[in-house]
């Protein structure tokens, strides 16, 4: 759908985005993670055409530039307008025919649980309601590409779950979505791809499935220090890490688990716990941004 090719963007002396290349395929949900100031919002604005890259290009493979629904991070709306009135304006800009306008607005309000506030002035809406309004306006006109900058920021857990459900539903409809978020559980739940930015560069990129399947490891915890067996265990396989009271078997070294347990038991150790797990998104993120 879109290709970001070696895009660089500077704000005076600050390198906001540094030589980023990314492919956006139809139907993908890309989770964009990164600390504040990593370049997420700048990347969004470059994709949305609000900023121009200093070098590199944002290209589309279709004849026309796809219609974009954008939910900015900051919840800024014309406060004097009513919720329904604002959505009606967005519907007009999305070129919706008059006959479809009312039903589209009603549907988008229902989708974000905001039907009750259609007549409310935006300045009287809570942060959560504005967050929902931001999502509702981005969906109007059925844009094939959605840029959602922290859509669940400031929502209660129920609201966050609702936003997750909504994004999943949009994904099922075949929409391409880029989701910037600090909510790692949300990204894990809804994204098909993961991109971690730091200091304007991509530090990690993978499909979510592969990212979470990465580095499976098994941890064997003993009742006392395993230091005396360090040399013996580490010589078994280079992917075995020996800690104070635990032995971690990474990747293929997991296959050696029965043998390691046998050695520990034979050496008089009691096995307190054996854990089999994969790396978490939080660990991937922490490693990427370090």
């Amino acid at each position: 759908m879109l290709e970001i090719s070696h895009v660089t963007k500077r704000y005076h002396n600050l390198l906001a985005v540094n030589d980023i290349s990314l492919q956006l395929r139809q139907g993908e949900v890309i989770g964009l993670l990164g600390p504040n100031g990593a370049g997420k919002t700048t990347l969004f604005k470059l994709i949305a055409g609000l900023l121009f890259p200093d070098s590199g290009m944002v290209l589309t493979n279709s004849k026309e530039w796809p219609m974009i629904g954008y939910k900015p991070e900051r919840l800024l709306f014309p406060g004097s307008m009513r919720v329904g009135q604002y959505l009606s304006m967005v519907a007009n800009l999305a070129n919706l025919p008059k006959s479809q306008m009312e039903s589209t607005i009603r549907l988008s309000l229902e989708q974000v649980n905001l039907s009750y506030a259609a007549e409310k002035r935006i300045k009287d809406c809570s942060k959560g309601m504005r967050q929902r309004l931001g999502l509702a306006q981005s969906m109007i006109g059925n844009p094939p590409l959605l840029l959602l900058d922290e859509p669940s920021n400031g929502l209660d857990p129920e609201g966050q779950a609702e936003i997750c459900r909504q994004i999943k539903s949009l994904h099922e409809q075949g929409k391409t979505i880029i989701l910037a978020s600090h909510q790692l559980h949300e990204v894990t739940q809804v994204c098909t791809h993961l991109v971690i930015l730091n200091n304007g560069s991509i530090h990690y990129e993978n499909s979510m499935k592969d990212a979470l399947a990465e580095r499976p490891h098994s941890t064997i915890t003993c009742n006392r220090s395993v230091e005396p067996l360090r040399l013996l265990l580490e010589n078994l396989h280079p992917d075995i890490d020996v800690g104070e009271t635990s032995v971690v078997l990474n990747y293929e070294a997991i296959l050696l688990r029965p043998r390691v347990i046998g050695i520990l038991l034979a050496s008089g150790y009691d096995i307190v716990r054996v854990e089999q797990r994969r790396v978490s998104l939080a660990e991937i993120y922490a490693e990427a941004v370090q």
């Binding site: 949305a48 609000l50 121009f52 974009i68 629904g69 900051r74 800024l76 967005v90 070129n95 006109g141």
Partner: protein
Amino acid sequence: MNQRILTLTAYLFRSLLFSLAGLLYILVALAFYLVLFEPRQHTPDVDYYFLVLGIFGLALSFLATLSVSSRANKAEQFPLLVRLPSRVEYLTAAMLASILFAFLLQIGIALLAKFVNGPVLDIQQVLVILPVWLAIDILFVVLALHATDLVALGWSRVYIYGALGFLLYLQNGNALIRDWLAGMFRDLGASMLGRGLDGLSAIAYDLSSWLSTTGANLINQIFGLVFWPFSAITNAAVSGSFTLSQALAPAIILLYATGLFILAATLFSKKDLFLTE
């Protein structure tokens, strides 16, 4: 496209009308009416009515554009901007909203000044006055766009207003520029003479003396041409009717406005949008 432009025009127009700035403009317009068309004074002449309200309209157009553009330059418009296939649609809407606000207020005050002890206007005069006012309003709206953060790109407003100031300066026939140019050619002639370039030196001396005498007037006239439409309209208003050539003046003003709008659209399309929060 029309639907999008009309929607944005209505939105920007409403945002100015129902704001403090909008209320202020309406109050200023009423004050202007009370001061310059005081109902208890004698009936104003048609030329006074035409020119004073014309100047009021251009000033209002300029100010209204600054206000509309500052609203259009807010970060809350990002979701709207990404919906547009072309940024020019947004700029067109900002321009139309400004024209609409200024022209409607100008017409409102004009009607008040007309019907409360105002001059008698026949239909022909009305048909002349309105397009002239509108043309001038449009030009000043477009000119004001170049002064705003919404459109200005780098030093563009300095260049545009600098060029305008330079043209105004030249058309006033200022002796300083004339003398400076004449002096420059005289020095050039002396320098060429020193290098043995007698022919070229003579040309430079001739140019210098021409500039000191008849040439200066010609230069003033050339630069004065740029501002001819305004003097033509003023002369026509004072004389009470437009000659054939004077009738072209509003069209030429619209031509200037078109050129300036194309420039504004080019700048706006090429710039990074750092809208204010």
